[in-house]
């Protein structure tokens, strides 16, 4: 089985403080000084797929990790090589695609259609900055294949070209054996933090080549970026309606807890 996992590296927005939220020209927000990390949903997708690889003994089982962006992402792809992804792909793109999932999905679809076909395509449901929550759905539409959303489990199935997928709709858990091709949008999966590669593997895969494809390779024109988008950003703003917080003073925790109980809690809990 041939599996493609698409991921995005995102800034850790929790590290920005109130005064850091400055909106510049072209609705840019400088987040370059905070660390970046795997988008949490994509991280789950990458780890669930690695677990699948752990269980699969068949040599035909191939994992590809794909991302869209500039060369600074290559180090993340190298880490994924060290975790035994078979192929690391970067679709080179310098454009502002924060709020353009239509374009991102077109790139992914063209990669799958024109460069390398994959039976299963796995993406996180949503990622920060744009919070668009559209890419996996648009990839499925672009390829004309089914899509399962809110996926919380992926397991091998006995039948050929099939996987066992667990997903959620409201308070329903659905477990189904499905035959490829399909797209999976991964939701909130407990204990799916990505594993850490060994130093030995890091060194061994350091030089392994990342496959880079340009827009031209994907038969997409630079001008298509905005044209492709079905929405247009016209305003970006920061507003926080805080409350006036009263800090309870005291010499130690139990003294503070006493004040909290007497002055605020007692009247609120009968």
């Amino acid at each position: 089985m041939n599996i493609l996992v698409c991921f995005k590296n995102v800034p850790d927005l929790d590290a920005l403080s109130v005064n850091d939220w400055l909106i510049e020209d072209h609705f840019q927000v400088d987040t370059s000084y905070v660390r970046t990390m795997l988008n949490p949903y994509d991280e789950s997708a990458l780890e669930l797929t690695l677990k699948l690889g752990d269980a699969e003994k068949n040599d035909d089982f191939k994992l590809t990790a794909l991302t869209v962006g500039t060369s600074h992402l290559d180090k993340v792809l190298k880490t994924l090589y060290a975790l035994k992804y078979d192929l690391g792909v970067r679709l080179d793109c310098k454009s502002d695609i924060r709020f353009n999932p239509c374009f991102v999905s077109r790139m992914i679809c063209n990669y799958v259609k024109n460069i390398k076909n994959h039976q299963v395509i796995i993406l996180g449901s949503q990622s920060n900055v744009g919070d668009n929550a559209k890419t996996p759905l648009l990839v499925a539409e672009g390829l004309g294949i089914p899509c399962i959303t809110s996926v919380i489990g992926i397991k091998l199935a006995e039948q050929k070209d099939c996987l066992s997928i667990t997903s959620k709709i409201d308070d329903l858990i659905i477990e189904q054996i499905v035959k490829a091709p399909f797209v999976l949008a991964v939701g909130d999966v407990p204990t799916s933090y990505i594993r850490v590669p060994t130093l030995k593997d890091r060194i061994q895969y350091k030089e392994k080549e990342i496959k880079v494809f340009t827009l031209e390779d994907l038969e997409i024109k630079e001008n298509d970026v905005e044209e492709e988008n079905d929405t247009q950003l016209i305003e970006l703003s920061y507003e926080k309606n805080g409350r006036n917080c009263v800090f309870i003073q005291g010499h130690h925790s139990s003294e503070k807890a006493n004040v909290l109980y007497k002055e605020y809690l007692m009247e609120r809990i009968k």
Partner: protein
Amino acid sequence: MKTVMILNGSVNAILKQAEELNNYSIKNFSKNSLIEAWILTDQDVNFNTISFSPHINCIKLVKVRTKHVAEEYIKAIIMLYEKCKPEIMIFGSEAFVSGLAVRVACRLKGSSCVGVKRNQYLEKHFIVEKMVYSNNLTAKFIMKNMPYCISIAKGFNHMTEQSSITDDSEAYQKLPNVETVTFKTEVDTEWIRSFTFELINTEEGLNTSKVVVAIGKGIGSKEKVVLYEKLAALMEGKLGASRPVVMNAWMPMERLIGASGLIIAPELCVAIGVSGAAAFTVGIEKSKFIIAINKDQEAPIFKIANVAICADCEEVAQALINKLNGRI
């Protein structure tokens, strides 16, 4: 503009969906706008239990064969679209239905937006507002192409008192006309070899409890959860959690509060060992009174709290438990 709202009748949460969509329409459409409700369902719907806002002038009921095959729902919606040609299509906030919004728009060459808080029609543009940058910023978008397919943001089931009409029985009319529409909605499901369903045993009440204790990664470990369960129980409240707590499997996923979990609005929320990331605070900011306990003086959670203690959370929790025990 011709507007419809689309509900998934195949799940028990149809009541919550209707409440959310009613409140959204009341907030975003003028009193005399008329909206159709389309209910897609694989089961019988008990209309006596569902309230519809005064905007709803007609209900169209479409039977589908499955609970979970999105492709069938999309086909049904598109068939109804071809018949009625609405310009605005509003979907609920749950991931399955918001996914339908995106895919329907894509097939109809319209525009879609997920997590919409507000919409307006201005100078011939349909403009939507939503949270971006992990709930830190608000963005406005022009939707370029019709039909405009939006899924609403979570949390419309908790409206502020002045705008909610939940208790205003006059505002809710009696059941609008229900029309059953029959289509051949079958799609190829050969790719699904087998399936089973299981209902999650969600512990009732986190969504409606008057008191909620919300714990974060700062509590330290899974073993500590019992302490906070005790605290919540002594206050007759429920225990919820931030993302790292459920991701570490210290508590079940159903207890998650925030952008990807529940939006709650209790009388009292006690946030313990949570930093106050925007994706979490969006889940508790509708609470009437917020108490925050965190050892870091600079923690952003204090910005949305009414009262705070800057101290070790275990010590404070233990002291509160002693106090509450003494009370009984």
